[in-house]
Amino acid sequence: MKRPFEIVFLSGKGGTGKTSITGAFASIAGNAVFADCDVDAADLHLILSPVIYHEELFSGGKKARIQPQKCSQCGNCIKLCRFGAIEKDKDLFIIDEYACEGCGLCLYACLSDAITIESNDSNRIYFSKTRFGEMVYGKIGIAEENSGKLVSKIRKYAKQTAAINKADFILVDGPPGIGCPVISSITGTNLVVAITEPTSSGWHDLQRLILMIRQFHTPIQVIINKYDLNPVMSTEIENNLKKMEIPVLGKIPYDEKIVHALIDGKAFPECPFLNEITNKLIIMWNNIKSKVYEPKSI
């Protein structure tokens, strides 16, 4: 069976337009499945307004729990916890869930077996339908770790969903930065579309991203968003990318009207006032479609 072509949208820097552009491509991609892998701040659903049909728990990190009826209040745990995660409130010893790293030291230090280490259950994975196709996304609880693990799970489910729906594409909205969840959203994908902007930080963070992606030998294409904010810088970025042999997929102008699409929760192509940008995006999408990348084996 033909494997769907998996494209991940990344940027390095936050705020360059990753999610808006992923949402826009989602609306014109045709037979595709979407995955929001920016699990620390999942936002794609704001544009795609999914209807959830299945929800799953994702156990992330572990946390200590104290059973008050067993606790002898010896205070060992408070003394030893390096994260200051245990507090005494009157006669009760309480774990601060956000501060606890789940290291388990208190478990061994407890004289009365009152402490257990449990998997937390504040992370969720959602299976949903949107007006453009099916979407899998996740939400990580506050101060939870393991977002990289959650990303790989979401991608796995997106692939299964794509197989069931015989989808041609998987569009992945990736997280910002170059850390664990980003690496987790790149491995084994067919193409990275990096969204940048002509700012010092946009270019700086893109270079770091490119260095990282090259470790995976995944093909990269770049979209320069808001290119007309700083045409000199845009040209500089283009020239530098040329030297690096990285193609520029397209350039999108800065348009104050975009903000209305964002406030209304609409994809750009759904807004008649963004026709000019939509036409550019269609050209870019056709360009992506016309190129065949062999799936990378790891």
Partner: protein, 57 residues
Amino acid sequence: MDFKPLYEYIQKERIPLLGSIPFKKEYAMTYSQGDILPEKNDELRDEFIRIIKKYAS
């Protein structure tokens, strides 16, 4: 920018509004050049000074 849910939310949660910065292409251009906004724009400098004063008081 008039995005009501935001204002309603901070009011409900009793989070003080320190100041507000308008959405302007001009600011985005300043930022893209690596310039510091209050240095290039008087209106914004006044707003930042107002915010600092609120902190100081």
